[in-house]
Structures are given as C-alpha cells and as structure tokens.
Amino acid sequence: GLKAGIFGALSRLKGKRKLDEAEIKELAKSIRRALLEADFNVRQSKEITARLEERMVEEEPLPGVTLQTHAMNIIYTELVRLLGPPKEIRPHNQTILMVGLYGQGKTTTTAKLAEWWRRRHGVKVAVIEADVQRPGAYAQLQQLLADSPVEVYGEPENNNAEEIVRNGLAQVGNADVVIVDTAGRDRLDDELQAELERIHKVANATERFLVIDAQVGQAAGPVAAGFHELVGISGVIVTKLDGTARGGGALSAVATTGAPIVFIGEGEKVADLEKFESDRFISRLLG
C-alpha cells in the first residue's frame, strides 16, 4: 500500500540527521511514485512532494524525532491540509442534489443519507428519484427505503427528469430535507449533460454532492471538474470503502472542486454510512 511505498522511500533516511539537496530530490521522487501508485493524480503528487521538499529544507525535526518520522509527519499533515476542514450539514431547509458517474453508489447513498438525518435528527426527509435512464431505479430506491417512513417520490413511467423533480418538489418539498437522485453520467455525453443542467435549474439545490467510488483512478479529477462546472459541487461522498480500494483517486475530486468529503459509504445496507473523518480516511489510505 501507500504506507509501504512511503516507508520504503523513507527507509533511506534511517540514521541520517540532515539531507542534502540531491537526497531530498530523490526522496521526493520516490514519494511521488508511491502516491501515483495509490491513484493520486500527477499534479497532486507534485504539489505534495513540492511541499515536502520545502518543509524538509526549512524545518528541523524536533529533538528526539527521527528524520523518518519527521518526513512522515509532513506527508500526513499535507494530506490533512489537502482534505480541508470538515463541513457540517444542518438538516433543515435543504435540497440535496446527488450527481456522479455510472454505478458509483448515488441511489444507495441517497437512501443512506435520508435515513441518517431522519434517525439522528428526527427531521422529515423525502427523496425524489429523477433517474429516467436506468431500468428499475425507482424500484431500487423504493426497496432500499421500504422499512422507512421517508417519502419516496418517483414517476417510473415518465422519461422527463426535470418534470419529475418539479412535480416531486411540489409534492414533498415541505420536508426538512429533500434528496434528489439523478442518473449516472459522464461529461462526454452531451444529452446527459443537458439533462443535468435542466434538473439543476429546477432543483434549486442547497447542496450538490458528487458521489465517487473509492476504486476510481485518474479519471476522478477531470470527472469532478466536469460536474463542478455544471452544478458547483459543495460536497464529496466516497463510497465502497469497505472493499479493497483506498480512495486515492477521490482526493483529486476534492482538489478539483475545493469541496470537502462529507460522508463515506462502507457497505450496501442503508445503515452503512459514516461521517467523514480525515485521520481515519488517511490511515486507511496509507494502509
């Protein structure tokens, strides 16, 4: 994993008290390689190691701290800085728009979020299924929330997503939180881009969450940029962190959108949602 890669790069610092410029450059290069292998994108890897190089030159390790530990701490704090401060969502007067690529976990996460706020805050939550592309989308959301008092709005026979959102808001818009689930899409599909623009206008969302699968690699950056341009991403949700994937690619989404990770998905059940915590995410990322 990433930790092994970083430790491997740092192992050459064993017993050293100070590095010369060439050694710092070598260290940065091997750390960059380790980051790329963990699905970080090129630009991010360069930024992190540039900061590492600067700080290795400027900072002295505290007394009793090895150069290895010092370097590891720098990398750790740079990752925390990259992730940014946490964001609290108040579950009142919110319309949440869920967007993302195909199969990332948007529909499942819509159900999870609905139950999260309903259970923890006792607020009235409604969800709108605005995916008109995927067969069985409404049935999926309905079944996920079958045992929940959350109101599920959908029009399985209607193929106009914008109309469903408009009708849905008219019907359930009085809820404290309304979550709108949309179809998976990629910015290379013009029709789906146009559809999202129309949905976005009608929804008047107070939060626009990008749902991204922990297994996504280098495409995460460009994909996130596309969604950010279209709707202005205000939060990122990383799913499937209960698998083997670590979510390195998702960090590009954070960097591109400037939006914090707000929740993480750790399973297929409605209860498998956790609030994002940066040190947990980073230690899992490091492996």
Binding site: D39, V42, Y102, G136, A139, L141, G217, D242
Partner: protein, 283 residues
C-alpha cells in the same frame, strides 16, 4: 548503440507518466519497462532514427502483446459451442459492485438474439434492491426469457433453475447475472463459488470498470484466484477513463479482455480491440 543513462531514463520516465495517467497499474508498468530496458539497451539505433519514437514503438509492441496474449473471440466461441451441440452454453458474469454486469448481460443477450440464438437470463442477484426489476425490464425490452424469484432467494437455485429451464426448452445460451461483491468479503466470495459449482458455467466473465485505478488489479486477481475467469469485460470505456486497467488486469491474471462496454445501450458492446485501446491511451 542505445546506452543506459540519464537521456534514456528521462524518456522512459515521460512514457511512464503517460501510462500511469492512463490508469495502467504500477506493477504491470514496472514489469513492462524492465523488459523494455533490457530489449533496447545495447541494441542498435538506426542512423537518423529518433530515440523517443523507437522507445514508444517498442512500448506499444510490448503492450499490444500483453493485451493479445490468450485472446479469444467471444462470438466465435459461443458459435462453436452451440454448433457442437454443447447447449445450453452457460455464461456467468462476476465482479465487484456497480461495474456493469447487469447491463453487459443484457447487451450480450441482445447481440446473441440478433444472431438468431435463443437466450435465457438468470436473475441470480437476489440480494440488491431493484436488481431483479432491472434485469427483468431489460429482458422484456430485448425479448428474452428471464428466470427469477422473490428478492432474498437463493442465488445458486436461480442459476440452476435457469439452466434446467434452458435444457427443457432447448435454449442455446444461459447468462447468469450475479450480485456485485467486494473481494474482501469471504462469505460473499464463498457464495459465488457455490453458484459456480451449481451452475457449472462454460464461460466465466469478469466485469471490470474502466474507471478503476490500481484496485482493478486487486479485484481481478482475487476473482481469478477464487473462481478462475476465462475473460474480462471492461465497461464504461466511453467515459473519461483511458482504459489502462485493461493492461493491469491482463498482466496480473494472464486472462484477456474480450469485450468492451462503450455505452448504456444494447448495441454498445464491442469485441475488444487492443489497437483501439492503445490509440485511446496514447492520445
């Protein structure tokens, strides 16, 4: 003579970056570059030849042979089996969550039906919300029979029922769609092995997501270890993904990518073409 040194290193590093940015896994890439080095260092550089071009051409050759290793033609293979009377031909779709198994099942069924074959689908994802509805809707639209049960039923039983039904009806092909699952969930991988034992498929297809980074290797290796798949389908190649995962999967498992998913429509399934992928990666 091509010499080892900073010039060669720098050129190789530039290509390495292109490949990493195209999602080729680091381990596969390292292996390819080591072989590239030993091939080129000490070899003759023709007069006027551009070293960058030579290295790139060599790299593409190595990647093409990696993708072509063990390659088999999906359609031709199904045809041969049907013609040989080895029916129903049983195909099983496996992979982690959300990669495109159900959609690919529908695409394959549609393609085979267009070629005049009778296809029966097994809705063996009895776990996920909306899974049976999804496949049943596809089956209705394509015009093929779908064997399913109540949600929560036994996955292996559905597979067996579909095969029995196919035998009784003299159908040509059965495609078993299974639930997505994470490879680190032992009980789910065991369940899949049970479905495999009961269904005894002729062909197992691992369905991977072209958007996946280094995790594509983890997934493929684990499915190869527990189930042994015959070929892989790489879906969502019509997205921002560059498709490097194809190389990592082929390298890690020695199994070929045989089909490419290039969209959500029933016709968006192509026979995998290594040159087409390489062109996409090097663009």
């Amino acid at each position: 003579i091509i010499k080892d040194g900073p010039v060669f290193d720098e050129l190789l590093e530039e290509l390495e970056l292109v490949m990493l940015e195209a999602d080729m896994g680091s381990r596969a890439l390292a292996a390819v570059l080591v072989a590239l080095r030993s091939e080129l260092i000490g070899s003759r550089l023709r007069r006027g030849a551009d070293l960058t071009r030579v290295i790139e051409a060599s790299l593409k050759r190595a990647l093409r042979s990696l993708l072509s290793a063990g390659y088999w033609d999906f359609n031709a293979t199904i045809d041969q089996m049907v013609d040989a009377g080895d029916t129903p031909v049983i195909v099983m779709m496996v992979g982690v969550n959300g990669t495109g198994k159900t959609t690919t099942t529908a695409k394959i069924a549609h393609r085979l039906k267009e070629e005049g074959k009778t296809v029966i689908l097994a809705a063996a994802d009895t776990f996920r919300a909306g899974a049976i509805d999804q496949l049943e809707t596809h089956a209705e639209r394509i015009g093929v029979r779908c064997v399913s049960s109540e949600r929560g039923g036994d996955s292996a039983a559905i597979a067996r029922d579909a095969v029995e039904s196919a035998k009784a009806r003299g159908a040509d092909v059965v495609i078993i769609d299974t639930a997505g699952r994470m490879t680190n969930k032992i009980n789910l991988m065991n369940e899949l092995q049970k479905v495999h034992r009961v269904a005894q498929p002729h062909l197992v297809l691992f369905v991977g997501d072209a958007l996946a980074g280094n995790d594509a290797v983890e997934q493929a290796v684990e499915f190869q270890r527990t189930l042994k798949f015959d070929g892989a389908v790489l879906c969502k190649l019509d997205t921002d993904a560059k498709g490097g995962a194809a190389l990592s999967i082929a390298h890690a498992t020695g199994r070929p990518i045989v089909l490419a998913g290039v969209g959500q429509g029933y016709d968006d399934l192509q026979q995998f073409d290594p040159d087409w992928l390489l062109q996409m990666m090097f663009e």
